[in-house]
Structure formats: C-alpha cells, structure tokens
C-alpha cells in the first residue's frame, strides 16, 4: 500500500489539487456567501483552467530537465482538469452570466475583444480533450501527436485572452506570457537538443 502510494504520489497530488479546487468552487456555489458569484466563478475557473493547462504544457520539459518520467504521466490529468475548468468558465459565461441570450453575447463579443480569442482557445482544446483517451491515441497513431500540437496554439491564445481583458494592470498576464513563451521555446529543436545533451552529460 505504502509502496503504491509512493509510486503514485504525483497522481494523488494532481487529483487532490484538482478535486480540492472543485470542492472549493462547489462550496462557494452552495454556500451563497458570495456577493458576486458570477464574477467569482468566471475569474476563478479561468485562472484555474489556465494554471492547469500551463502545468500540462510544462510536463514534457520537466521530464527532460529534471529527468523525472512521472511528469509525463500526469500530463493528461492536468490537461483534462484544465479543460474542465475552462468548460466551467465558458459555461458560467454562457448560461449564468448571459442566460444564453445571444444578442447579449454577440454584443459582448464585439465589445470585449478578449472574448472571441477565449472562444478560439476553447474550441482548439475540444478535440484534444475528446481524443485524450488511450483508445483514441492508438486509433490516431502518429496523427494524435500532430493533433495535440494544437495546444501550442491554444495556450498562447489563452494568454492573449487574459492579456486583452479590459484591465490596466497586466502583471499576471505578463507572468503567464513569459512562462508559456519559455515552455514553447524549450520545445524548439535547437533548444531541446541543448538541454537534452546537458541532461545526458549529468
């Protein structure tokens, strides 16, 4: 038991954080203690979604940099939690904030340019989430990897969405922009081979 726990601790951590965050959101939903529940859920789910998606993007470089195979094993779970939170994010926006009133949504998409960018990011994530199972991975073969490269587009779009929100202070969008850029740069073949060599010399 202890042995299994030791071997799978990283799964446990991911699920503890993911389910813990869901529990917190659920608690606040049910408690009715929030003055602005819609705003709370839109903001928290958006942030959580972005954090999980970025964390899933960090898995591959982390495996190489820290020589830790466990990083790749939690990649899917992180990505799916990310997708779950942005789905909540979008759902709160569509159903709760705007009551599926298309005229209102249409006006908002025109008024806040960050919104269409967010939708683009979300749409790109749908096929990734849908084909995240081993079955689909097997069925698609090499094309699965190609398809999942869409995340390289979805994440910059997500950060762009964050960046373009109507806010004067952009410290956090900048921080995410730097992290995502770094994670993408680490994937460039030249950079990758450089740190791969360093890791093997070690």
């Amino acid at each position: 038991m202890l042995h299994r726990l030791k071997r799978n601790w990283h799964y446990l951590v991911v699920h503890a954080i993911g389910l813990g965050a869901l529990l917190v959101l659920g608690y606040f939903y049910l408690s009715g203690s929030l003055v602005n529940p819609i705003r709370y859920f839109v903001l928290r789910s958006g942030t959580l979604g972005l954090i999980f998606l970025v964390a899933s993007l960090a898995c591959t470089p982390a495996r190489r940099l820290f020589n830790w195979p466990g990083a790749v094993q939690i990649r899917r779970a992180l990505g799916l939690y990310g997708f779950l939170f942005v789905t909540i994010h979008f759902a709160v926006y569509l159903f709760w904030e705007n009551s599926l009133y298309w005229e209102l949504i249409w006006r908002d998409l025109g008024e806040r340019k960050a919104m269409p960018i967010g939708i683009a990011a979300f749409v790109l994530l749908i096929p990734l989430a849908a084909t995240s199972t081993r079955g689909w991975q097997r069925r698609l073969g090499k094309r699965w990897r190609t398809l999942h490269r869409l995340v390289y587009l979805a994440l910059p779009l997500s950060v762009w969405h964050y960046f373009w929100l109507d806010r004067d202070f952009k410290t956090w969008p900048w921080i995410f922009a730097v992290i995502v850029t770094l994670l993408l740069v680490l994937r460039l073949p030249l950079v990758r081979s450089a740190y791969k060599n360093r890791a093997s010399v070690k």
């Binding site: 602005n36 819609i38 904030e97 705007n98 009551s99 209102l104 006006r107 004067d168 202070f169």
Partner: protein, 391 residues
Amino acid sequence: MTVTDKSLKSINRRQFIRLGATTTAGLFLAACGANPPTAEPTPTEVVQRPTDTPIPPTATTAPTDTPIPLPAGTNAPTAEPTATATNTAVIDPDQLLIADMTLAATAYLEALDDGQRSISAYDFASDERFRWHWTTPGNFPRNGLPLREMTETQRSRAFDLLAASLSGMGFQKSLDIISLQNDLGNDSELYYVTVFGMPGGDTPWGWRWEGHHLSRQFTVVGDRLAMLPFFLGSWPTTTQAGLRAMAQEEDAALELINSFSGDMQAQAIFQDRTLTQHVTQNAAKVDPLEPIGVAYADMSSSQQQLVTEIMQAYLNTLPDHVAAASFERIDAAGLEPIRFGWAGSLDRQRPQYFRVQGPTFLLEYDNSRNGGTHIHSVWRDFEHDFGYHLL
C-alpha cells in the same frame, strides 16, 4: 394637463418639487449660512474656495476594498456654493457657483507646467468637447491630463475642481465609482481632466472629468452654466466589502417595477429581455426616444415618489441649486408625460434596463452586462446637453 385634474396633480407636483428640489436647496442654504432652510435662495456675496477639511477617500455609506489615492489636502465637498452671507445684495447662485468653479479651474491650470497645460487645455470650439465616453481609456483613448501624470498638488487641485463643480453627494459618488477601479484591476488614476477655453474670461469655457464609468461635462457661458450630459457606471454593483456606488437608483427602480400591478407592469415592460446596451450611446446630441412604459400621471403617489428618488440619484449629484433648478425645469415641462419603461429581469443582479423619459430629459440605465452587476447609465437633456441652449 386639464384644469379639472390640476388640483389633484398639483399635490404630486408639490411632492415632486419638494422631494427633488428643496431637500437639496436646503443644504445649499445651510451652507450659505442661511436660516431657516426655505426654497428661496438667500442672498450671498463673498465667494470662498472650499474649506480645507479633508475628504474621506472612500464611501461614507459603505467600505470600499481599496482606497483611491486621493491626494492629501484635497478640499472637502461642502454643499455648494461655498459662499458666506455678508450683506443682502442678491446674487444669482449660478454666479457664485461659476465663481467657485472658475477659481478652482484657474488654480488647476496654474498648477500645470506648459507641457501639461497644452495636453489638458483645449479650445472651447474644439470638437474634443463632444468626444466623450465611459469605457476604459484602454478601449477609448482620452485626451486631457490623467491624474496619473499629475503631481500631488495638481491632483489635489483637480479634485478641488471636481468638488467645486458637484454636490457633496455627487463628489462622493464620483469617488466611489473611481474606487471601484481597484476591484477591476484598473488604474484609479486614469481619470482625465480637460479644460475647454479660458476659465473666467469673456468667452465660454468648460471642463470635463472623464474615465471609466464616470464622465462629467461642465459648460459655462457668461453667468449661465450647464452640467450635462453625465454618465455614471458601476461594476460591480456591490463589492465584496459592501460598497454600492449606485444603490439608490438600483433599489428605487427595482422597487418601482415590482410595485406595479399586473396590467401596469405589463405596460411598463416594453421588452421581456433586457436591451443589450443603452440606446443613445455617446451621441453628442440626443432626441427623445420612443415613449415607452407607464406614465407618471398613472402612478400612485408612492410610485411617483420612487420615480423622483431615481431622478434624485442623478440630479442630486449636481450642486444643490442646480439640482433644484433641474427639477423645476422638469416640472415646468410637465410631470405627467414622464414615462418609466423597463426591459429584462425584475430581479436584483439579473440583466435589466430601464428608461425614464420626460419632455426635456432622458435617463437611460442599462444593467445588462455581467449578469446584471454592471451598470451603465446616462442622463441626457434634449436642449441643455453641452450647454447647447446657451450658445
């Protein structure tokens, strides 16, 4: 209005004037040192700048999350105009107010360096005067000098000018709206001061305070002035800390629409779903919109009082005698045709829109954004906006 129903309606009219005007006029008179507070302005002569009492930077009604950076030494929003009665010569309160505003505007301009003045000052004839908006400066870049680029003294003078141009309530409401920017991750110093023309000269002049959710225009022509149009907005409508920058109008309107019986409510609701934005946007001039909703004449006296309360939430932001004069103008044009129309949800924190329109004015209130927690509202006058009637 016919002669037969005049006496009946005159009760409402009296209530309207009393509620809307004399409460504020009383404050004005008290500030003038006049006693007792009657509707007649007491003669005053000597003009003084507002006193040195510091302004609380946030709402007195409820705490804000983060205080706005109000410069030290900003003067208190005393009931305007801050004049002292020294003899019995009759002076038009407009003139006192103009003198106050002129002093404050001149002090502001004098505090700027040449470069800043060229940014903050425009010709009165410039089209810039009509280029106004309520959105963030990121979405609609503003011309004028932002608080952010001012020194402490300059900022203090800018706030003095605002305090001199509004009632105490109007000034406090402005501070509350400004402080909400902290909740939104916005810069509460991105409010721009623009002066048009030369304050105190023979020619018309005016000035504007503008930034996210707050746009106030002031026009002075000779000894007359106009303080319209203006925009007030609030997002969120209630902060987690409990600040409600626009509570009075929201509460009164919800109470009013829910006070109507079935038929009347059906008449008030011109559309089941909210409008998606206010109709008149940032037009330089507006004409009356289609008359919709329930007429003031058909409301009970308590409902009429709620209409007055809604209007007070806006007009009482103006200096007290200006508010009183505005109510008188509305009354003179006739209260009966004023209409209250509604679109959208009847519940708090759900998307909704309402409109109060009379022969001379239009109030549009749109709370359709962010699930009904984001108010955009504008007070327009078909003739007095931007002082058109004075020019």
